[in-house]
Every structure is written in C-alpha cells, then in structure tokens.
C-alpha cells in the first residue's frame, strides 16, 4: 500500500499573528514494506507531516495518496483512512483511558465496527505483537502499569486496528535504555510480521541508521535530504548545519578515516564499525 505525497504545503494560523509555514512544498514516495526514518530539528515539520498522512490535518495545498487513492480531496472516508494508516503519537501512554487494558486496546477496533469476537481476537493479537502476555494483562488497569508497558499497550491500541501503514512519532522518547531497546525490537518485529510500511521519527541517529531502509531529513518545512542511511549520513557537514548529527559509530569511523587515508568503511552501527576497524588493524599488521 504505497504512499505518495505531492507538493504538500501547510500553514498554521493563516492570516493570524503567529502565522507559520509548517510544510513548504513537500513531495516524496514510500514503497511497500519500507521502513522510513524521519529526522529533523524540533519545528522542522515532522509531526505536521505525519498528521497529514492519516487525514488528521487538511493540507493548505497539495495531495496525499495512499494506495493510489487521494485522501486529501475531501471525498475519502476518514474511517477508511484510519483503518489503513495507524498513527502513534509521541508519549502515546497519555491517551489511555479505559478501565482495563483489553478494553483500551479494543477501542480502535470497536470504532471500526468490528463485532465482539473479532475485537477480542484483534486485541489478543495486538497485545502479543507488542510482547505482552494477554491473559496476564488483559484485566489490569492501564494506569497501574510501568511507563514502558503503558507505551506498549498504547501502541497495541493502534496495531489492533490492523493498519497497512504504521507511523510512530518518537516511539522511544523518555524511556530508559532497556525499554528503549525493547520498543525498537518490538517495532521491528511488528514490521516484519505484519509486512507493513513503517514510518518513524527519532532523534537518535543510531536508531535511524540501524532500523531504516530509507532516511528523510526535514528542515524548515522542506525535505533537506533523502536516501539510504549510508547516503544521508555520508553528508555529515550538511547535517551538522541543520543542527543534526551522524550515528556515534559513524563519527568514530570518520575520525579514523581522516587520520588513516587507507581506511575504508561504510559502517553506521557499532558492530559494523568494530568489524571494519578490526579488519583494518589486522591488515596493517600483516
């Protein structure tokens, strides 16, 4: 279910004090099965862009096509769009409201008009996809869970709608390192098992490099860079100009490259960097 965005423009508070252009002529395509990582400074238009993709915001001009169907012409049915495109906001645990976890996760399917049996089936599937035990957790109050678990439940609430495209706005924000790793692994597993398009925003360059098939860099309401992680992170200077960086492993690699002209490496992750450095050292020893 490919996405294609054409000349998207969005202005906040038009004609009012505080008029801001949040998106300024944005066009891109996302192919089926892709994991797209989006990076950009606060206020670069990332969140605004994400909300356009499931019709929460109507663009000032431009179009969004999901699976070839235009969702911005005002004719598309909102429930159809929300069924296809699941959007998980930043700190999604703040939207939990039901008495029990299973009821909360069932909120989405219920809104889509699923019957009770189907609701339960979807809730079971979603809760196990986010790595929780359905029988153990279904009757808990979502408010008595830990932060990381709350977030999983909230993500399950969106997954239960069985979207073909899943969008996550900073899924790991404010989590401790172990919960951070678990959420990333979970997101990856959801992508692989459901075979969907995954779009996620992160400020952690290492996560972006590790997870993404393609990377998009937003700056001032425009797409500043787009490509594979290797392509994007090879432009360290440009990224630094926008107040962004490269993954820590890539930084080390670049430093070594500067001092050792013979060293060649495309590594972005710590593991790749370690492998390349080891190979280089062994080579120069012999």
């Amino acid at each position: 279910m490919p996405i294609s965005v054409r000349n998207l423009k969005y202005v906040y508070n038009p004609g009012m004090p505080g008029e801001t252009v949040a998106l300024n002529d944005v066009s891109f395509d996302v192919a089926d099965g892709t994991i797209l990582g989006i990076i950009g400074h606060t206020g670069s238009g990332k969140s605004t862009l994400l909300q356009h993709l499931n019709g929460l915001i109507k663009p000032t001009s431009g179009e969004v096509y999901i699976d070839g169907e235009c969702i911005t012409d005002g004719k598309a049915k909102m429930t159809d769009i929300r069924r296809k495109v699941g959007l998980v906001f930043q700190y999604p645990e703040y939207q939990l409201f039901e008495e029990t976890v299973s009821k909360d996760v069932a909120f989405g399917p219920k809104n889509l008009g699923c019957n009770e049996a189907e609701q339960e089936e979807r809730v079971k599937k979603a809760i196990s996809l986010v790595g929780l035990d359905y029988d153990e957790i279904k009757d808990c109050s979502p408010f008595e869970l830990s932060g990381g678990m709350k977030r999983r439940v909230a993500i399950a609430g969106v997954i239960a709608m069985d979207p073909k495209i899943l969008i996550l706005d900073e899924p790991t924000a404010g989590l401790d390192p172990s919960a951070h790793r678990e959420i990333l692994a979970m997101v990856r597993r959801i992508h692989d098992e459901m075979g969907i398009i995954l779009i996620f925003v992160s400020h952690n360059m290492a996560d972006i490099a590790e997870m993404s098939d393609r990377v998009m860099v937003m700056s001032g309401g425009n797409i500043a860079l787009e490509g594979t992680p290797a392509e994007v992170f090879s432009q360290g200077e440009k990224l630094a100009e926008m107040g962004l960086g490269v993954p820590p492993a890539k930084e080390i690699i670049d430093l070594i490259k500067d001092r050792n002209p013979g060293f060649v490496s495309e590594a972005l992750s710590v593991d790749e960097a370690a492998r390349d450095i080891k190979a280089y050292l062994e080579e120069s020893d012999s």
């Binding site: 004090p17 909102m78 906001f89 703040y94 939207q95 909120f107 989405g108 809104n111």
Partner: protein, 267 residues
C-alpha cells in the same frame, strides 16, 4: 475549533492600551461593566460601542481576532435573546400557537443581547492587551490593602496566574488527545446527544490524568525554587502608574459622566 476560544488570550502589541498599567485596565474594565448596567436605553449602548471601538482601534488588535472570541459564547447570547423574545408580556406583535412576540420582548431581547456582546468584547480587550502575568500582578496590588483583614491577595493572584498560564497548555493537550483518539477511529461529530457526551470520555479521562501530572510537576518545580508564599517577595518589574494612566482615568470619568447623562435622553 478548540483554538477559537480567545478568552484569556494575549495579543502581542505595543499600543497605548498595551502600555497602560494593568491596574488602570482592571479598574477601567470594572467601571465599564458597571456602566453597562447603568445604561437604560439604546443611545447609551451606541455611545458605549463608539467608545469601545475607539479603544479597539487604538489597541490595534484586529477586529477579526476579537469577534472570534464571540463565536464561542454565541449559544449563550442566542439563548438569552430567545428567552427574552418570547417571555416578556406587553403589546403583541406576532402570535403563533403558544409563541408570542411582544414589542417589549423584542426590545428587551435586543437590549440584553447587545449588553452581553458589549460585556464580552469589553472584557476581552483587557485580556487581549495585558499579559496574564501583568494582569495578576495588578490584581495582587489592587487587593493588597485587603490582606490586612486576612484576604490572601498573593495566593489569589497566584492561582489566577497559574489558571491563565495553563489555559493554552491544556488546550494544546486537549488538541493532542483528540487527535490521538481520532487516529484510533474515534468519532466526535455524529450520533445523538447521549452518544456524543459518551464519546467525550476518551478525551476527558486522559485530560484529567494530564492535568494532575502537570499540577504535580509545577508544585515540585516551585518547591525546588524555594517558593514560600507572598511575604517578603520582591519583583523584577515593579509596576507604577504613568502619565498615560492619568489620561485614561480622566477619559474614564468623562465617559461615565456621558453615560449617566445618556439615561435622561428620551426616545
């Protein structure tokens, strides 16, 4: 829709009205509200409206911005209008089944609606041209004489500051929660009244939880900075009356005189 509420919002500017002392503006607004109840005929409202629009023109706040605040209370105004229209006895103008419109009712309905509109526009001028912090500082100063008889003026002002400060925060929070629930297929626009009221639960519960969280964070942050109430507290910007405030006071007295005189204009 939720962003349309301009109540308590500040419109940044540097006009003569903006620069007035907050105390002047509070007293002027109070006088203005009293004055609206002194008025007993449409001439009085005409004079008030002219004065009000003169103030708006000086303040350079766009009219569009001011009227946006009215849309939020449109229902109340419409309700008052209809109630007065049908409930007042007098010379019958129009009659249909149990509905009767009288000459007095029509006149009263317009009178009340105009008064309400003027009240709302007039008081929104104050909040639009005064920063919330200045407003509550002014209020604290105005109330401080009463602290001798046990009125906690500083605490009242602080509560108001916090309430005003968190209106935009809570609106943003509400907006976020609404969008998040919409993304899960929630529908707030269709169904009967009962269903619609029920559809607010997914918004209200998270909003309450957020409010408590925000309140707790704020209390902690204040304590961490050794907040201990109003006694012995100094401020960075002392507010003081200037020549503009004297001019405003004179204008206000003049205006009040004109309004009292307008009571004696006969139709």
């Amino acid at each position: 829709m939720i962003r349309d509420i301009t109540l308590g919002q500040y419109y940044p500017g540097d006009s003569w009205v903006h620069r007035l002392d907050a105390r002047t503006k509070i007293i002027a607004t109070l006088l203005y509200l009293i004055e609206l109840f002194v008025v007993n005929n449409f001439y009085g409202f005409l004079i008030t409206a002219v004065a009000l629009f003169a103030v708006i023109a000086i303040s350079k706040v766009p009219l569009k911005f001011i009227f946006r605040g009215l849309t939020a209370v449109f229902l109340i105004i419409a309700f008052t209008f209809l109630l007065n229209l049908f409930m007042v006895d007098g010379r019958v103008l129009w009659h249909w089944k149990f509905l009767t419109i009288t000459y007095e009712g029509l006149s009263r309905a317009f009178f009340m609606a105009i008064r309400l509109v003027l009240i709302i526009i007039g008081s929104s001028i104050m909040t639009l041209t005064t920063k919330p912090v200045e407003l509550t500082d002014g209020l604290e100063k105005l109330l401080s004489p009463f602290s001798k008889i046990g009125l906690p003026s500083h605490e009242i002002a602080l509560m108001m500051t916090i309430a005003l400060r968190f209106i935009p925060t809570l609106m943003e929070e509400t907006d976020k929660i609404i969008k998040a629930q919409q993304a899960r297929g929630a529908d707030f626009e269709s169904g009967n009244l009962f269903q619609r009221a029920k559809s607010l639960i997914p918004i209200l519960v998270p909003l309450f939880v957020s409010s408590f969280r925000i309140a707790q964070d704020l209390a902690l942050a204040m304590e961490a900075r050794c907040y201990h109430g109003g006694t012995g507290r100094t401020r960075m910007n002392e507010i003081r009356f200037e020549s503009g405030d004297a001019v405003a006071a004179v204008l206000m007295v003049l205006f009040l005189g004109v309004i009292i005189a307008s009571r004696f204009i006969s139709i």
